[in-house]
């Protein structure tokens, strides 16, 4: 057990060591960025933002991002239940 603790501590130190921190890993921000990269501007809700709705939904067990994150073009994204504006 002690050796495991030492190993975990070393790993933690390595991951939090000096150097630039990784960019924010909010899954909704990342998904939105991915959609942008494949040329999809997702349809916005009437009274909020796509990212905000994504975040709230994910807190409620919805908005599985696997499909859209795996899509590499607009038709593939739209098969995930995401409407891309202008397409």
């Amino acid at each position: 057990m002690r050796s495991l603790s030492v190993a975990l501590a070393a790993l933690a130190l390595a991951c939090s060591g000096p150097g630039p921190k990784p960019p924010g890993t909010d899954p909704c921000d990342a998904a939105y960025l991915h959609l942008d990269q494949v040329g999809c501007e997702p349809k916005k809700p009437a009274s909020s933002s796509w990212v905000e709705v994504c975040r709230v939904s994910r807190l409620s067990g919805l908005f599985d991002l696997r499909c859209m994150n795996a899509a590499d073009n607009v038709p593939a994204v739209e098969k995930c239940g995401v409407t891309c504006v202008g397409h």
Partner: protein, 290 residues
Amino acid sequence: MPRPASFPTGYLRDDEKTEYPSHYQLLSAGPPTLQKADHLFARKGLIWQADVGMCVGAWLKRAVQLWLELNGHAAPAMISGKFAYDIGRSMAYAGMEPENVPPLRDAGSQVRLVLVGAQRLGLADEAHYPDPTSPDWNPANVNRRPSPDDIINAYDMRDLEFYEVSRGAWGIRESIRACMVRRHPVGIALFVDSGVFANEGEIVTDINESDPSGGGHMVGVLDASHDEYAVLDNWWDNPGLGIEWGMPLPNALDLPRGVWRVAWPLLESRIKACFAVEAVPLQRAADAIA
């Protein structure tokens, strides 16, 4: 078509203690604006749950329809009861990564999760999210989750207001009436047995809560103005199936199909939960209608 051997439970008791707003707030909500606790005149549109355990969502659908109608919206949209059911079921996994949520099961929903889910995620229009009454209803979608687009397109319901109706000092009958004369649609949960399945319009005076064929169900209160019984709305009626399931046909009282009359003493002793809708975000729903 044979009568179903058992009734799939659609109403589930809340799995955690919840402090709801109470109907006592009605005391400061202004005087009654209806002469009597009767919403039958405002009931429009068929609501049918088929064999899906979505009675809580079906009630919310009726409650939204009634509220809009009772409060001056002549052509209210019908929201999707299935969407309400689906977000209520998904809410049971709140806090879990959506990617790890197991497949939904058609096993009913808690009122708390449906109502809070509606506030949090909105409600969909039936035209965009099919119910069993919709022409494009597909039974294979019973357990599908709302897609990102479904949620993006939903009505914003953050201003949806509801409260719990408790017995209080006046008893549940008077409490329900107090809500209804203020144009607040009321829903109740109770156990229904095989005798209720076979009801043909007579007043229900007994329910066997030990009946293994029975289950938890949520219905709406349409008319609480009579001394002897309450008229309850239900979601089982459809041509053919309604007869097979023993739903009352139009009778001498000129009641519409798909309603029950249940004796007050029975109802008062068997209600598992009682809720009312106080406000539906009007402007956004009206926008959606336009």
